[in-house]
């Protein structure tokens, strides 16, 4: 067990270091881009006076030492405080600021994205395991080719196009059954709908889009793994002992494929978040991907630093937690892994870069 503790400690330390580095990088990138953040506080001024510039920077806390700003941000973050958005900030009594808090908006968006990703990942697993096992048992056959090609078409179509096609043919505009937009699991005071049924019906098309996009990758992986494992000694032993085909597959062949798939799912959380931009846009969600694009990608030269930092923070946390969970699960299921320092990440297929 000491192996395991040391392994966990190493991984945690690495994750923390990555997190601190990314926040620092965000700060450095922000400082190196010329901007007049005081413009957020005087939105109607065509030209800012010297006083306005300095007063604005002072109120936003940008006149402090840079290390101070970094430390201060981390300190607030430690207390769960994401700060306030600079956009729409108002000066009260000329000496303090009224900023809209970022937290609620950020958490609402994260909830929507995670709903898509987790449900979609589950759907991918449910589809990929049987399809991959089926293809892996008859490599080179017509059925194998059909499965490989059909799943590839999903990845060759852009997720936005896929989503838009699904949304316009099956979505509310046509059938009136499946709605656009997100519907939370528990209905809050401001929500128009809620509950498990509506939540699922609103998310089913995004999940299908997500699954179609990632299916090719996972079917291929399961297929290769099954084809490899079928000739292992322990599979032959199981057969010799009289186990049925289904039992051989379920208990002896698929677990090792499942392990590989699991690793990939954890590693690909980042990729999934990127793809979420398009799935959310196609189905009218206000998730993390779209929020990130609006905050970070707008053509405007002004950058809302606290909001950007908040988005970077939450994405980093999701990615690191995903990797960590998989690392730990992997180490528990396959103790040899805990001694290795790093594993290869293989992206052999189109769309792996998304």
């Amino acid at each position: 067990m000491s192996h395991f503790t040391a392994f966990l400690g190493r991984r945690l330390a690495g994750a923390l270091l990555t997190f601190l580095t990314l926040i620092a990088v965000t700060f450095v990138v922000y400082w190196s881009i010329p901007a007049t953040p005081a413009g957020f506080l005087y939105p109607f001024a065509a030209h800012l006076t010297n006083y306005q510039l300095q007063h604005g920077n002072h109120l936003l806390g940008l006149d402090r030492p840079k290390l101070d700003q970094y430390g201060d941000y981390l300190w607030h973050l430690l207390h769960g405080d994401f700060g306030g958005s600079w956009r729409g900030g108002q000066i009260v009594d000329n000496d303090h600021l009224l900023l809209a808090p970022i937290g609620p908006q950020l958490f609402a968006a994260t909830r929507e994205s995670l709903s898509i990703i987790l449900g979609g990942a589950l759907l991918v697993l449910v589809l990929a395991l049987p399809l991959g096992a089926f293809a892996g048992r008859r490599i080179g056959s017509a059925a194998d080719r059909l499965i490989s090609t059909a799943t590839l078409v999903g990845i060759c179509t852009h997720p936005m196009v896929l989503g838009l096609i699904l949304a316009t043919t099956l979505g509310v505009e046509q059938s009136g059954v499946i709605d656009n937009g997100y519907c939370p699991l528990r209905r809050g005071p401001k929500d128009t709908c809620g509950g498990l049924g509506p939540w699922t019906s609103h998310l089913i098309l995004p999940w299908i889009t997500f699954a179609l996009l990632f299916l090719a990758l996972y079917v291929r992986m399961v297929r290769a793994s099954v084809a490899d494992t079928l000739h292992e000694d322990y599979v032959r032993t199981a057969r010799a002992k009289g186990a049925g085909e289904l039992r051989v597959m379920r208990h002896h062949v698929l677990p090792s494929a499942g392990l590989r798939v699991l690793t990939m799912v954890g590693m690909e959380v980042g990729t999934a978040l990127g793809v979420c931009i398009y799935i959310e846009a196609a189905f009218g969600f206000q998730g993390l991907g779209r929020l990130a694009v609006t905050v970070m990608g707008g053509a405007a030269d002004q950058i809302d630093l606290p909001f950007t930092l908040a988005v970077v923070t939450i994405i980093t946390v999701i990615v690191l937690v995903g990797n960590l969970v998989v690392d730990v699960l992997y180490a528990v299921l396959d103790p040899r892994a805990a001694r290795e320092t790093s594993r290869g990440r293989d992206k052999p297929l189109v769309g792996g870069v998304f």
């Binding site: 990555t18 881009i33 090609t149 590839l152 078409v153 060759c156 179509t157 852009h158 936005m160 196009v161 838009l164 096609i165 590693m267 959380v269 980042g270 990729t271 978040l273 990127g274 793809v275 931009i277 398009y278 846009a281 991907g289 779209r290 990130a292 694009v293 970070m296 990608g297 707008g298 053509a299 994405i315 980093t316 990615v319 690191l320 990797n323 790093s342 290869g344 990440r345 992206k347 052999p348 297929l349 189109v350 769309g351 792996g352 870069v353 998304f354």
Partner: protein, 334 residues
């Protein structure tokens, strides 16, 4: 590497040969198809035809496939600004795949021209990625040590994060500075910045590949033999090791061109890619559906989605098969 043997193995692979033929066709049609179609049909892909739309006001729709459209850029309006039919005697011109939206440009010619720009972005991205990945990855793999540790750790970390998001961010901030780079119709404006940024943000995976490849070859006997007769590191890298990276480059490159073309669609949908006036398969889809920031102007006809998507799917599938074929022909044991 025995290239004659590789070619023989490729020749035996029917699916890969079909993919090569498809790709050759796509490239040929993209290169000259637009120019030929412009000459035959008598209008270019950038010229707007206001009469290539059906209905007016908010329910405007582009004309469907195989429509004859009044060949005029002039709109006749009555006193209430309602569109009148064109003047008598106006000649018509043929829109093979219909119009592209409210502007009424020829979708068919834009599809042909767009293929060229899409492929340019795809190949350009690969070249820029190689430009970064090859020296860094090779140096890390060959010399090892601190540089290797740093590169390995860095690529591992970076690849866990949503590259697409960083790419979007960088393109939004940097493409205004790069957008002016272009060369006549050969490299339309925006293509260079797309290719450069896509290349820079996709260079981590090939960097890993090259590094891993050279790490295994670093202590091979032929490298040690070369070191023993006094060859310099540079000479060993150039004369002994470079050819061993070619298979990796081919297998990865074919996939990367396809991925880059899809990334170009991604950028266009965010509205940070090429100018909407420049046709690419991505910008055509974005014009039809509207980008994330700008809603669409007209309801897309099914052809506006189907044509660029079909072109993309065929090209990407063929590139995927090509990469697969390369892999099988170059490393027959796997």
């Amino acid at each position: 590497m025995n290239w004659i043997l590789v070619w023989r193995r490729l020749r035996r692979d029917r699916w890969t040969m079909a993919a090569i033929a498809t790709l050759a066709g796509v490239v040929a049609v993209s290169l000259v198809g637009g120019a030929i179609a412009t000459r035959v049909l008598g209008h270019g892909g950038d010229k707007p035809f206001p009469y290539a739309t059906i209905g007016d006001g908010p329910v405007q729709k582009p004309v469907g496939i195989w429509s004859h459209v009044p060949d005029t850029a002039q709109v006749r309006l009555d006193e209430y600004s309602q569109m009148l039919p064109p003047a008598k005697g106006t000649k018509t011109t043929l829109f093979v795949l219909g119009g592209d939206g409210t502007l009424g440009r020829d979708e068919f010619i834009r599809l042909l021209d767009g293929g060229r720009t899409s492929i340019e972005v795809g190949i350009g991205g690969v070249l820029f990625a190689l430009l970064v990945a090859l020296p860094v990855g090779a140096a890390a793999g060959y010399f090892g040590g601190l540089l290797d540790a740093a590169v390995g750790r860095f690529t591992d970390t970076v690849m866990a994060f949503p590259m697409l998001l960083f790419l979007v961010f960088a393109t939004a901030k940097l493409s205004p500075y790069l957008a002016g780079v272009g060369y006549s119709w050969i490299v339309p404006r925006g293509v260079f910045s797309d290719a450069l940024l896509i290349g820079v943000f996709t260079c981590f995976y090939p960097m890993r590949l090259f590094r891993a490849q050279l790490m295994t070859l670093r202590h091979a006997e032929f490298v040690e033999a070369a070191q023993m007769i006094g060859a310099s590191d540079w000479r060993i890298l150039r004369r002994e090791l470079a050819s061993h990276l070619v298979p990796t480059m081919l297998v990865w490159g074919a996939i990367a061109v396809a991925t880059n073309m899809l990334l170009e669609v991604s950028l266009s949908f965010i509205g940070v890619g090429v100018q909407p006036s420049t046709p690419t398969w991505g910008s055509m889809l974005a014009v039809a559906w509207g980008s994330i920031y700008a809603p669409r102007s007209a309801n897309p006809t099914i052809w506006l989605t189907l044509c660029p998507t079909a072109a993309l799917v065929v090209t990407v599938l063929a590139l995927n098969q090509l990469s697969e074929g390369f892999r099988r022909a170059l490393e027959p044991r796997h």
